[in-house]
Amino acid sequence: MTTHALKSAAAPEAERPAALRRGPGPLARAVDTTLGRGLIQAAAVAVFFAAWEIAVDAGWLTEFLVGAPSGIWRVFRASLMDGSLAVDTWYTLVEAILGFVIGTALGSLAGLGLWYSVLVARVVEPFIVAINSVPKIALAPIVILWFGTGFVSKVALAVSLTALVALIAAYQAARDADPDLQALMASMGATKNRIFRSVIVPSTLPAIIGMFRINIGFALVGAVVGEFISSQRGLGHLIYNASSLYDLNTVWVGLFVLMFVGFVLYHVIDVVERRILPWRQVSTAGGIQV
């Protein structure tokens, strides 16, 4: 009854500033639990596939051109049973992860390293911008030429797609690091290396980890496009082959598995972020709804 009393007392004050009254309503708050959200999401997926299947059955869509959920499921089960799907997924996953790790590490280190010398940074900046403005996927034929049609060329392609993104993100973050914190360290007599370790690295971590999310996507693009061009294995190979045979259901299997892989990797980064950046989760204004 206390709440009731409070409510009626507050009622005449309906003209309060909007910011104080906003936030989710009672229904939104009741549904907004892990279970509630999961149910809504599952329902959305079910409706989508059911509509697709019905549309194909009714003849509104041609299965030949768009595939059908039932067919996709059959292909999925068969390729899972004979182990071919696992092999293809494994190839693409390893290519992408290796490309991601190598490209991101090289790029981040180079980008952070540019913090050490304003001169070098200024000299190389136009070159970085120029190289970055080339759609890097256009390099794919050359990369295949240089690194062959095997595993290495896919990794190389993923590296070429991720390295420059990492470099630019790391360099910008290092440049934006709080000058006052650096000044404070300098007044304590800190060396440049010390400032790098104690200020630059930790303050660029949020941006660098944010860039991981983008680069996971790029690494997958590199691996898959490499497989499109020439390969015997991998999800890109699976998709490319199937589409040239008009086997749409197999194409969809490849796409959904890719989606799943990207989704999982994205969440792995979320976990890494929470572990590495606990201080980002807190704030005195943390619980305020706007």
Binding site: L184, S187, G189, W279
Partner: protein, 281 residues
């Protein structure tokens, strides 16, 4: 640490040897419309074990002086002598508490406070003990593992002050260290600061907007004024008891207070300067 001071040097700042001398420091900043002069040939001395307050209107260049002393800004002209020897700045010799409570957001309170000890290579266990002791004394016990973002402004300021004191440098540069605190905490921490610098024989240079605080804590007060700034006057403060409360109850306290108020007034309201002077006298 202090090689030269005579035993009674802390008693009379005028007889203590000069630790840091500023001579004709000039500094201007580049603005769109051209250079803006801020410091116009600043000269003053800081003695061994001195406690000097710098007061002056907002924007007169107090923080700039600190940045020059700390070796973060190069003056356009002028020299600094540290114990008689010309130095470009005092990097590594000062504990600088900046005007904004500058804590490392990714470090906990304990880790923030330990920064200086870490840099000196103090044994981690010993450093942790020292840091915990300071935190308790400054009313931050129990917040060792909190991140700065979750602290109040006053708590952040205290953490920044501890970080500066704990390093045990020759000279402490404190830029408005108590501005975010309530009066009670402020008096308490003023006492803690006085005790600490007295006990360890430190030199303190304090920037404050609080004339009351300047008189209560300082041995000398440097008044800056004009545009660009020069040293208007240096006042020796001689009070019997230099504790926050004791000093404020000394009969000479209000005399100093009025003199300094009058002196600051001159720059803002030229007309009332003479009346303020007359009142003070």
């Amino acid at each position: 640490m202090d090689p030269t001071p005579t035993p009674d040097s802390s008693a009379d700042p005028k007889t203590a040897p000069v630790q840091l001398a500023l001579r004709g420091i000039r500094k201007s900043f580049q603005a769109k419309a051209g250079p803006v002069p801020v410091l116009d040939g600043l000269s003053f001395d800081i003695h061994e074990r001195d406690f000097v307050s710098i007061i002056g209107p907002s924007g007169c260049g107090k923080t700039t002086v600190f940045n020059v002393i700390a070796g973060l800004l190069e003056p356009d002209a002028g020299t600094m002598l540290f114990r008689g020897r010309p130095v470009p700045g005092l990097r590594g010799r000062v504990g600088y508490m900046m005007q904004k409570d500058l804590l490392f957001p990714w470090r906990t309170v304990l880790q923030n406070v330990m920064l200086g000890l870490e840099m000196k290579g103090t044994d981690p266990r010993e450093a942790t003990d020292t840091a915990r002791r300071y935190l308790a004394q400054f009313g931050l016990g129990g917040f060792e593992n909190a991140y700065p973002k979750t602290l109040s402004g006053g708590m952040r300021q205290r953490a920044a002050l501890i970080r500066t004191l704990i390093m045990d440098p020759d000279i402490l540069l404190l830029d408005e260290p108590f501005s975010a605190l309530d009066y009670q905490t402020r008096l308490y921490l003023e006492g803690v600061l006085l005790d600490a610098v007295e006990r360890f024989g430190k030199t303190v240079v304090l920037v404050t907007h609080d004339i009351d605080e300047a008189v209560a804590l300082s041995k000398r007060v440097v008044v800056l004024g004009g545009r660009p700034s020069r040293v208007k006057n240096v006042h020796a403060i001689e009070l019997g008891d230099r504790s926050p409360i004791g000093a404020r109850s000394d009969p000479r306290f209000s005399e100093y207070f009025h003199t300094l108020c009058g002196e600051l007034d001159i720059q803002t309201r030229a007309g009332s300067a003479s009346t303020a002077r007359a009142e003070a006298a």
